[in-house]
Symmetry: C2
């Protein structure tokens, strides 16, 4: 049984590594010749929007999924509508009332479309009564001025689309900042949000299968620097935070009749959870689940989209995951650290690029926090745990 | 960095899946077009003894290892002696005093040669003062008669070479049994051993790296049926058994200046450990380490042969591993069991064939034993835990 994955980055690579023990095969689509998943599975090389390659991917796969959220919604919609599955061997066995059907794509395209546009995302959060930051869509200099007047300073300007790892956003403290940001990003649709002086950042990750089974992981506590996730600790925070976050996540899962893994990131301020954004995919803040939970987010994504029973999301200890950014430390240096699990993405070094991560699982949260501090110190000096 | 592996069975497949997160690449050699590791890594297809393919494997790899112990010792010896590494890109950078060197092969070939011949193995155990069964080499009918006279009945006839999963052996209870066994196996070298009415079977697995670091896993308790391993539980037995087994294992590791994972299987009788056989490779009784130990036997084999620091062998709970023999139960049936980790080898079903395994990790040994019983009952009815 083959799973087709649009995007062959490290998330796709980890999906394949989680799926092989289940007896699954994988086929990827990616323009990059040296994409990380290409070392572990076959790749169709070409544009994410290439209709012929997408059709081939669909034809050769039981189900399609994606490993990043900037995949073209239009291309996937066309694929879901086209009778890709009707060609080849299946033709012969088709009975008269079986209509040719399009590719099965999970998670659902409407969830992907919503996550791609910060304005749709905000509207969804508001509709589902999930607290979020105050915001205004900004399409002109005048609208930006009005948004700043209504929401106040400081604030954050973000592009509506294609932002990741802190790219496409800027903090606005003065009218001059706003002007600079407008010059930099003004050509595309923007959103202006209030800036939240948060106590900490958390995320919640859960899976929903086609038949409606839901499994939610313990809450993740996340530390970013320069917009890039550096550290995740899980389980994190008081049970009340987890309950709140899980309730919000379930609303979104139910709303979309969702299938697969979904992530929501929150700011925490004075015990309130304020939704920042969602990702319709396995998430960097869930990488600790490979060693730190009974079933990893990658395996549960596959179980969910193949309508298999979901696996337990129970943590097996207190985990910390540290991203390796820019370049890989020597393998022997990392592996000399007791109990450290290395995940090397086989990517060329580049400033600000996620090239790997490592995870520890400890018996208590105090030991976990102490080791996380020590490892951060060695692997990413300068990053402080709040 | 590429690791070359002779044999692309499930052990090779699990080595590759353990090595990808370390950023390693893999290349296999196997005659079978549908070998399990071929779904996850490239394979050179051809005979294990093909000198050209072996040379190519060596040329394209940093180090060579094997995933079964019946690889040709002669072919590997030739490879270790030939200057395979001197061709290609390396030629240019060679300085005058760098001699062309042969392939680096781990574990060491003498350990492989010893494990391939039950007589050499017995002699090694005796030399290292590791208790083993009484035995006689048998090359003729007269020698077999004398062996039975000296050692007594019942006994076990085994082929000296190429036995696995209970193949090539027979229990001898009467002189008529001996005659039948002689007719079946007599054409090849044999060994006659005393039959041990054991209390249970255990195995010990450990790694030694090139620099001499040693890491030993907790003791495995094994249950066989029809000569095939069905169940492993670990940690197993009193600490004294573990200490004894670990001491014996260390003697063999030291003797060979061993590099990689080594396994020794023992019978336990009245608190004594009696060595049955050794395997110079990752072992079926160590599959539980994937989820049940901090570092799996597969990762530690790779760390050892690449001279990286060894990972912790600490168990993270009480594990049971159940082999799936003959054919795979439906995926959804296995995954519906809470906390069960499936390992599907992607092999065609065939009676007596190992097609997969599954593992559970529980918080106490009582819960582990109870669940193991229940799972055995569902997946392999008729197998009793002693």
């Amino acid at each position: 049984m083959t799973v087709g994955i649009v995007g062959a980055g490290q998330l796709g690579r980890m999906l394949a590594l989680a799926g092989y023990p289940l007896g699954l095969d994988f086929l990827f689509l990616d323009p990059a010749k040296d994409a990380p998943a290409g070392r572990v599975a076959p790749v169709l090389h070409g544009l994410f929007t290439d209709p012929e390659l997408l059709a081939e991917l669909a034809r050769r796969s039981e189900v399609l999924t994606f490993d990043w959220e900037n995949v073209s919604v239009d291309a996937l919609r066309a694929l879901a509508a086209s009778p890709a599955k009707s060609s080849g061997a299946r033709k012969k066995s088709r009975t008269p009332d079986e209509r040719p059907r399009g590719a099965r794509i999970c998670p659902p395209i409407p969830a992907l479309a919503t996550a791609q546009d910060r304005v749709s995302e905000k509207r969804l959060f508001e509709r589902l009564k999930i607290p979020t930051t105050r915001w205004r869509a900004v399409g002109s200099g005048a609208q930006l001025e009005r948004a700043i007047r209504e929401i106040g300073l400081p604030g954050v300007i973000k592009t509506r689309r294609l932002g990741y790892d802190g790219k496409g956003q800027a903090v606005i403290r003065t009218p001059a900042d706003a002007e600079r940001a407008w010059e930099e990003f003004g050509a595309v649709g923007l959103i202006y949000e209030e800036w939240i002086p948060f106590d900490c950042e958390v995320s919640i990750i859960g899976a929903r299968s086609r038949r409606g089974e839901v499994a939610i992981y313990p809450l993740n506590g996340n530390v970013h620097a320069q917009g890039i996730l550096r550290l995740t600790r899980a389980p994190f925070g008081p049970p009340r935070w987890h309950r709140l976050a899980a309730r919000y996540l379930e609303r979104v899962l139910t709303h979309f009749h969702y299938t697969g893994i979904l992530t929501i990131e929150f700011f925490v301020r004075s015990g309130r959870l304020i939704a920042n954004e969602m990702a319709p995919r396995v998430h960097n803040s869930g990488h600790w689940t490979i060693e730190g939970a009974v079933t990893s987010q990658f395996e549960n994504h596959l179980r969910a989209i193949l309508d298999l029973p979901l696996g337990s999301t129970r943590p097996v200890g207190y985990s910390a995951m540290i991203n390796l950014i820019g370049s890989m430390p020597a393998r022997a240096t990392i592996l000399a650290e007791a109990g450290v699990h290395l995940h090397h993405y086989d990517k060329e070094p580049r400033p600000g690029r996620k090239v790997g991560h490592c995870t520890i699982v400890e018996a208590t949260h105090l030991r976990r926090d102490r080791r996380a501090r020590q490892l951060l110190n060695e692997l990413a000096p300068g990053i402080r745990i709040p």
